[in-house]
Subunit: 442 residues, 2 copies
């Protein structure tokens, strides 16, 4: 029976391998060997099947797939709360762009570590990032043991990182070379948006994504201002513009997609574009209400993202799920819209599919990567328990996650990070915060 | 200098006595004697002034007023997650009312204990409750040491608690007698709503509220269905109907107030009605978007409420604040709407004013009651710190609260409840959850 020894056997009160209550296993367990899941079933059965395995048992634990954040800017943690209650363009042009001009590789590295700590501590096991100084993002991510898709943001104007655009291409190619064989980090192509990138730049980056067969990640149709600029310049909406350039395809991961006509939704569906919705960020910046229900009805692959901590102001996917499920009910005036299961699906397998990784992550199944989290259900706000997806979306919080395993490796145990030095990160970030404040005050 | 000895001196990295960043005190402290705050200032100064005081110091602590939940149904914790993703009337009539028919005093008592545990652990120090078996709600609340305004819900049809309506009045009078002198519990009058209470019942209860000079708490204009029923019966909207009965006055605390015309907003303002908005519940049940910004512009006293755990699905006021600040930005398409400070104000001093208790609670000031919480800022999602209200509304969670003091009494220390036996409550609630499930399956 026991052909290969399992290295780790994780068991708890419940195991929810997918987003669906019908799949829940009471007193479930999961065996991991190396980076893969090798068995799923009743704890008692697996304990007999893998007697040598190291055990991780939580009496009141819920084992579930790690959450997937499909759009964030991890280093922006250093700007959390620096400028709030402002419209997107004012926020971006008068606060964020000037603050970003003062960024250094060191700030980006430490801020990324902070976001990684926050993500792991709130149940995220994979994220898709686009930002400046992406080599620093990758360096920090590599240390954390998290799974990531990440890339350097490119745009027409000089970057605080690479300076002139041509250097940006060299920087990106370096990243591709450096992480070609990395088990956890995949490099992506990251044009900022249609209003900051010329058609030539977009097409050149589209070609790179095609050659590398990697995600082409772009902010798209985030608000009315973007649509107006695009119409003015090209006589087309952002979606139409990208389509006219041949850049809507199965590699395109479009973040936001707030302002969309019915026709554009059909276009996105036809071109097999993946969409990352960032509802909290869109709400906070008053960008608009992303049409999640319509996208799902059109059969579009939908993931959820927090966006950066400067516009959310956290990277907690449990908070994001809560908001998503509630927002789409009220904007559609339909309490059956965006059910707990649909929301959890978007935050797990939907996110995996956005990154072309649904074969490996997004649910717990034999043969898939061991990316999973354990929540402590022995808490007032999670008691009693009638329906697991309901609790995960409407009541649970990031702080309920006690263990995290990524690629078979325990990265958090009893809320203690095992790959990162949390206190050192917090201490360093307080210093960086003071530096950023003093820069702004001069 | 030191006229009277302080009993407890609480100090931390920051003290935020109000909802406003400008009032923040770095390295602040607060001295408590009995149930009152006797001094606020720099920790170093207060330590000299009160050398004998017992100390509670948190190096990375933020001291702030406890949150005030102005509308909840604490015992509904036992129904959390029992029925989700359903419209209000289906949810109420097909799921909640039948489940409530099986309630017992014991279930209500234990469910209230559970809600109390959850509220304390997420930073709430006062709440306003209306539900069945209110004596049990009061009994549990008394044990917890929480401050509460609570009452028995009355309506025309027989109640699972008191049976015929006339018994309801006797039950209510008992409550008034029993808690007349209680330092923390105030009994309120609680007609359910205009569609479940006859004009005669509403007026009779209005008279009780007048005699007792206590809040008259009612669900009002929660959704279109309520408005339609009221129009059909009386030819008036719920607000017009209550006004025609002379029941809109400074004692009226109207929960929800989602569907309101400009004229009705003016009426509520003129009559000095207080409003409790329950945005998360309204979103989840797709009842509509409460017009918080318009109410504040009209000068109406606004508090926030979670509603019960069956429609939220938690009683976490930090989560509620987060949703409120984001929702009202996007529905008004104005990122400056419902700022962090305005939101925090509604959850603190606004809530206090809803209950006529702004002299005693809702902010930290010398002479006010010592109702306060301490958060641990030494966490990834709260680092760095530029603006305290921003962090509290956009990034903090209930789980960040480590200590809670109500009426001068320490009720939670390092997240351990001191007045309640959390594990016993959880164990009991798991049993009750199984009972409720088996009742529904038969």
């Amino acid at each position: 029976m026991n052909i290969e020894p399992a290295e780790l056997l994780i068991s708890g009160r419940w195991l929810l391998p997918t987003a669906y209550q019908r799949d829940a296993i009471a007193n479930g367990a999961l065996a991991v060997r190396g980076d893969r899941i090798v068995a799923i079933g009743q704890a008692a059965d697996l304990a007999r099947q893998f007697p040598q395995a190291r055990r991780l048992h939580e009496e009141h634990g819920l084992i579930m797939p790690g959450l997937i954040n499909t759009h964030t800017h991890a280093p922006m943690a250093c700007f959390r709360g620096l400028a709030d209650d402002l419209p997107l363009m004012t926020w971006l042009q008068e606060h964020i762009f000037p603050a970003e001009a003062c960024l250094t590789p060191e700030i980006v590295y430490h801020s990324t570590l902070l976001s990684l700590a926050e993500m792991i501590k709130s149940g995220t096991t994979s994220f898709c990032d686009m930002y400046l100084f992406a080599k620093e993002v990758a360096r920090a991510t590599n240390e954390s043991g998290m799974r990531a898709w990440l890339g350097e943001v490119l745009y027409d104007f000089p970057s605080p990182n690479y300076g002139e655009l041509e250097n940006g291409f060299a920087y990106m190619q370096d990243l591709f070379s450096q992480y070609q064989e990395h088990p956890l980090i995949t490099i992506t192509v990251g044009p900022h948006a249609v209003y900051t990138c010329s058609p030539a730049l977009l097409q050149r980056l589209g070609k790179v994504a095609e050659e590398r067969n990697c995600p082409f990640v772009i902010h798209l149709s985030e608000n009315e201002a973007e649509v107006a600029i695009c119409r003015q310049r090209y006589g087309l909406t952002p979606v139409e513009h990208l389509d006219s350039l041949g850049l809507l395809n199965q590699r395109t991961l479009a973040a936001h997609c707030v302002i969309l006509s019915e026709q554009e939704i059909t276009t996105l569906a036809t071109r097999q574009v993946k969409v990352s919705h960032c509802s909290e960020s869109n709400m906070k910046l008053a960008s608009g209400e992303p049409p999640a229900v319509k996208l799902l009805e059109a059969g579009i692959t939908l993931g959820l993202g927090t966006d950066g901590s400067a516009s959310n102001n956290d990277v907690d996917m449990f908070g994001e799920m809560n908001t998503v499920a509630m927002l789409h009910k009220v904007i559609n005036m339909d309490a059956t819209a965006m059910s707990a299961e649909a929301t959890l699906q978007a935050a797990t397998l939907g996110g995996a599919a956005c990154l072309g990784a649904e074969v490996d992550i997004g649910s717990l199944a034999v043969g898939k990567k061991a990316d999973l989290i354990v929540l402590d259900l022995n808490q007032p706000h999670l008691t009693p328990m009638y329906n697991i997806p309901s609790h995960l979306v409407y009541a649970a919080r990031g702080a309920d996650v006690i263990h995290s395993i990524i690629n078979g490796r325990l990265v958090m145990r009893h809320r203690t990070l095992l790959t990162l030095n949390e206190n050192a990160i917090l201490e360093k970030m307080r210093e960086i915060g003071q530096t950023i404040m003093s820069t702004r005050n001069h």
